[in-house]
């Protein structure tokens, strides 16, 4: 974590003169820390506040506003299943039920082996692949119960 922070602080020093407020790096800093840690714990929020000059509360407020910034632990692999209109019309609701049954843990939490977090997401811009999911940032679709279960199984076995 320290390396990332050092880099960020170095970046801040070298920002162009015209670059305005330090708080503009809050989201990129959160994204960088999350890439390293998997989620932002309280210590990470404190660090963000230090770098950006925001209060801890302001940093917390920003982090919790965004759906792609995690304040709770996430699995090694995240699967966001779209539950918006086009995917829903093509079976997303059943997919979410099937996923929850398969992982035996509520949506949005981590499986006991630490491998998976499955959660519903808003329209992923994959309506032409409905029902679709974003798996570690990669678009997948159209999915059905069988292909989703096979995918979850594969991810559980992967590092």
């Amino acid at each position: 974590m320290n390396n990332i922070l050092k880099e960020l602080q170095k970046d801040l020093l070298h920002l162009p003169r015209t670059h305005p407020k330090r708080r503009a790096v809050a989201i990129p800093a959160m994204q960088a820390l999350q890439a390293e840690l998997g989620y932002l714990d309280d210590a990470a929020i404190e660090k963000i506040a230090q770098i950006t000059g925001l209060s801890t509360t302001e940093a917390e407020e920003l982090a919790t506003f965004y759906s792609l910034i995690y304040r709770r632990p996430a699995g090694r692999h995240t699967v966001r299943i779209c539950d918006s209109v086009c995917c829903s019309m093509r079976g997303a609701d059943q997919l979410l039920t099937a996923a929850e049954e398969y992982i035996r843990t509520p949506l949005g939490t981590v499986t006991p082996d630490g491998a998976l977090t499955v959660l519903p997401g808003i329209c992923l811009g994959l309506c032409d692949k409905a029902p679709a999911a974003l798996v570690d940032g990669e678009a997948l679709g159209p999915l059905n119960d069988a292909s989703l279960k096979a995918l979850l199984q594969r991810l559980q076995q992967k590092d």
Binding site: P20, I27, M30, S67, V85, I122, C123, C127
Partner: protein, 426 residues
Amino acid sequence: MEALLTRHLDPVAPLNLVAYQATGGYRSLTSAFDLKPEKIIGIVEAANLRGRGGAGFPCGLKWRLRGADAPSPRYLICNLDESEPGTFKDRYLLYGGPHQIIESIIVSAFALQAERAFIFVRGEYAKGGNALNQAIQEAETAGLLGTNIRGSGFNLQIEAHLSGGRYICGEETAQINAIEGKRPNPRHKIPRPSTHGLWGQPTTTNNVETLINVPHILLNGADWFRELGVNGGCGSKLFCVSGKVKHSGLFELPCGTPARELIFEHAGGLDENRALLGFLPGGASTAFLLPKHLDVPMDFDPIAKAGSRLGTGSIIVLDDATCPVEVTLNLMRFFARESCGFCTPCRDGLPYLTQILTTISSGSGRADDLALLDELCATIASQSFCAFAPGAVMPLVSSLKCFHDHYEHHVTTGRCPFNEANKNGA
């Protein structure tokens, strides 16, 4: 019509700088730098290029209203935060051809004499954002960005901002707050962002699809661009078709192409050749249209005249096996969840609408719920702070009108006629 905006897109292996230039890419810089910025704005105005992000505001007019004497630094924001359900056109542009985006930003920023541009990329498109960053670096190395670009004396720096992910960030002033690292609530529109935008400086925001038209307009002229459209529309348009159709997809067609052609020719017609119940013409925050509207040109004014909005030009198709109450409930759940929470009518009103719709959908609705929904929609839309809530209630208000019999049926029989499971139960 020959593909214009999608001609060189390749989502698997997008063209690098050299390959893009070999297709004629970055040629519009020469045309632009030979002209005075005011002249470019005049050409874009004459082309009648209207904003493709949803509002349809004339691009050239927006640029002219910013004013040539706007104080420095001036900013251009390319809005690539596409999150409107049913819309995926910008994803194709981002993943398929990052250099096309950069070229269009350079010529547009030159017209605006903006020295810094941001591309606001939705968080779910992070992989595309990475490729875009590489393309920006390639362009910088080649001297297409930076200081005194190609000896023009024009300086430009482009930065991609990857969103943390919320629908409201697509709104112009919320996006400005997001880039500044503030909580992305929409701002009050007075003073306007064109004079007091990003860090209090003159800021122009355009959707990415709007911007990628600009190089073509510069190369071929305003008249040529206007003539690309049909039925009174101007230019080329990216249409998305999804929902209950055989071949969901992105189709580049003349602006003004009717929905009938899009749905039945290009998207292959409805699933199992079922009958069309209705469609949303421009994404989730537009009003439903009915089969009788199939021949209305998909262009801003005709669709507005029909009672809806062209929005993002993204058609969501409902067949006669789809329950319109359930579809509307899904839309309202989306908007209730994505409200930024800043103002009370939106934050509390949308969940209330969702709650009432849930009871109707599950068969426990009361006869007076329908009038209550109508009344609440009117209150929420008129009392909320930004354009989010008026957009959010639009599909509900129109759904109550277009599919009134379906709502009545749910309320009077206490069950959903589309849901087999409920037929024996309840």
